[in-house]
Amino acid sequence: MSNIIMDEVINNLPENIYQILKLNKIEKKDLLIAAKGDLDSDGNYGASWVLATATDMIVATEKSLIYHIEDIEDLSNEKVIAGGLLVATIAGLDSILCSFSNTCARDFGFFVKLFKKLKEGKELSPEDFEDNEMPMFCPKCRTRYDDPARKICPKCFDKRAIFLRVMSYLPKYKIELFFMLLCMFASSILNIAIPYIGGNILFDKVLKAGGEYYGEIVFFIMLMFVIKLVATAVSIIYGRINSSLTARVIFDLKTEIFGALQRLSLSFYNNNQTGTLMNNVNGDAMHLQYFFHDGAPYFIVNFITMVGIFVVMITMNWKLALITILPIPIIIYILKGFFPKLLVMFNRMFRRGGNLNSIINDSLNGSRVVKAFGKEASEVSRFSKTNDGVYQINMDLGQMVQTAFPLLYLMMGFSGLIVWGYGSWLVVNGEMTFGSLITFTGYGAMLIGPLQFMTQITQWWSDCMNSASRIFEIMDTVPEVEEKSDAIRIPSIKGNVEIKDVSFGYEPNNPVLHNLNFKVNSGEMIGIVGHSGAGKSTLTNIITRLYDVKEGAINIDGINIKDLSLKDLHSQIGMVLQETFLFIGTVAENIAYAKPEATMKEIIEAAKVANAHDFILELPEGYDTIIGSRGKNFSGGEKQRISIARAVLLNPNILILDEATASLDTETEKLIQEALEKLIKGRTTFAIAHRLSTLRNADRLVVIEKGKIEELGTHEELIRSKGTYYKLLQKQKEALKLQGVS
């Protein structure tokens, strides 16, 4: 056997289970598949095991039971809210074998899948075991990933590699980098020089009788002026280079991220976990921006400054240097404890402020409902409750800041006093000049900032590397739906579609479609009928290859769509969906979305076919009307007709209509129905509709129930067979009659 998870389960069975196996003459090598659960039979955390040989299945909880596989009619993995049950059907009766939490759901799903193969009498091949093996484990240390959606191993997470990759965006800008580093160095040196000049030189050499430059005040003022000038110039140059460099690096990075996002398959977007990853992508890019703009440069400047100051202070007077440095760790310790608290309070303030804004928004947007139900007073009280929270946190924060900061300053002042005290004593005893004392106090104050920065750097560094790792993860994700390198080009699809033994689910072990089989001829219109959640839209998703099927095949004109060029496939399948989406841009641009090179004539023709031309011309800006966040808002029916025009212009050979006329009023529906009828002519069409009357032109109908094809035939055939379609039709007729009466 070749599956890490199962091997581990089998090799680590408790002794008593080995004994039971022995008693039943089962040897370890006979065990083919295994799964370990994490709950005992009372539902507490514990353990349970299911094992199977080619002929028997063993379930071990507190007691062990052995079943003959041939007696088990069905084995299934039933999902409950946060876990699952392994259920066996034996002699027509469903029995719970064991339960487990979500942590083990995948392993049990895999067990059931392989069990079914065993039950069919098939031999398990190494490929059968591959499914969930490698990606779940860290390839380096073999630890199981905590989060199956993000392959990050806490033991092997290589921050250095990520850091180097972040830095790899920089070499493009070598010259800028060189000047920036030069400026940083200069700025650090000047920072160190200023207190020295203001202390040692001013007091000891300029103002002191007998000093080297005694009385040369003009020279000294000039010197100070020049230094300030240079310092300012350096900081301007540095700031300008830094800003442009950061902006460019982040621009490069964001372009790459957006490119990666577009390349990814739909499944990536729909996956909850990866969805979260994407929501954060902009925030992550911001983190990196801070890294380039503030973090890294400050780190370098602060480091040079700190080392420089230490060296100068120790050379001047090591005793006073020690006294200056001593209180700093205490101050930093206090700051380290205080700042996270402050940060939490600030976060809380922002969050509560945000909540308050949403309530205001909610209530104002819903003002019609509020007024209609006379709920003004309760809205005010809802607002007051949240507002009270905002008031409370503002007050707490204000009081905390007003108390803590003066105390902190007092502390700093006190440590300054010690330096002054001891320094003055040294000056009085002639061990040190007054100027040096002034320089020391200057340096003491300068050290606090950089040191505090250094204490936060670990947290800041790991945040930054996390962001970078998430960004790189998106960039590195291989799209699930990928074009083969030798993809077949098919410039003109005829539209023969064959669905062959197709089973499909969005999540592993949770199939939505089961073993579908049917053929559609070129130009034929197929109506897809079924209850909500039956799998109708899923069927269209796999025909258009937004998702790849794992079992079975979908052939278009006799070629498996996985072998076809994606561009050819998508450019020849048109879709009109219930939820239309118009992009920011003009009406004309939206119609031409799938064919940007379309001429004005083509656009107008398409709009005419879609019954959209007339309402577009009623707009003062006609086809140039801007749609979008600040543009014109269209009604549902108008948007729908624009999206039909989009499909008309694409002139697809295969057309998918997914509830294209739902939720529209009768008049608009008529217009759209008309437009669709024109559009459908001569194309292979898959139309999903709840209202069966809209499918009256369909050549054949497929009825899907719970992911299976229940009926397939023409309208007349299905009526004659008096099955699900007939019943649905009768129900809708009755409903229409009722509407007519009222």
Binding site: N44, V80, I81, L93, S95, D146, T276, V344
Partner: protein
């Protein structure tokens, strides 16, 4: 048709079948396997429990399961606990933040447990007042019924997330 069909202890006879599932008899009609679904899983644990057949069609609703005999309530609780598997966190030994995840080691009412949560807005949800739901990377849920009732060490570990 849309009226609620209530099942009372007089009409409905619940029993545990040999397979471990709950069965129901109402008059002549028998359902060998039914499941219980809470209408208000956060706020009303005993009220408005929907009884569903194997095909997930509603048979009826129990307004308050506590009106049933003791032994039946036990069966209900067993079934509900299995469905709404929700360990209650009693004590937090450690929470370690790293690499965008936080690694928890806790004591729950069902035993000790180590789990990992993502550091995002969906994994640590303040449901109401002092009640918190923690959702780990596998989608398991854990409840902190009242964070102010936690001992001070446990509280300090999650304070920054509240």
């Amino acid at each position: 048709m849309n009226e609620i069909k209530y099942i009372t202890s007089e009409q409905g006879e619940f029993y545990k079948n040999t397979g471990g599932f709950l069965g129901l008899k109402i008059g002549e009609k028998g359902y060998p396997r039914v499941s219980l679904v809470r209408s208000f899983p956060y706020t009303h644990l005993h009220n408005f429990i929907s009884i569903r057949d194997k095909e997930n069609n509603e048979i009826g609703i129990i307004e308050d399961i506590l009106t049933f005999p003791e032994n039946i309530i036990e069966l209900f609780n067993e079934e509900l606990n299995r469905r709404y598997f929700l360990p209650i966190i009693k004590n937090i030994y450690s929470v370690k933040e790293e690499y965008g995840y936080s690694y928890w080691n806790v004591l729950t009412d069902l035993g000790n447990k180590k789990f990992t949560i993502r550091r995002d807005n969906y994994s640590f949800i303040n449901v109401k007042d002092n009640r918190v739901m923690v959702i780990d990377v596998d989608g398991n849920r854990y409840e902190i019924s009242d964070y102010e009732e936690l001992d001070s060490k446990s509280y300090r570990l999650i304070e920054l997330m509240l």
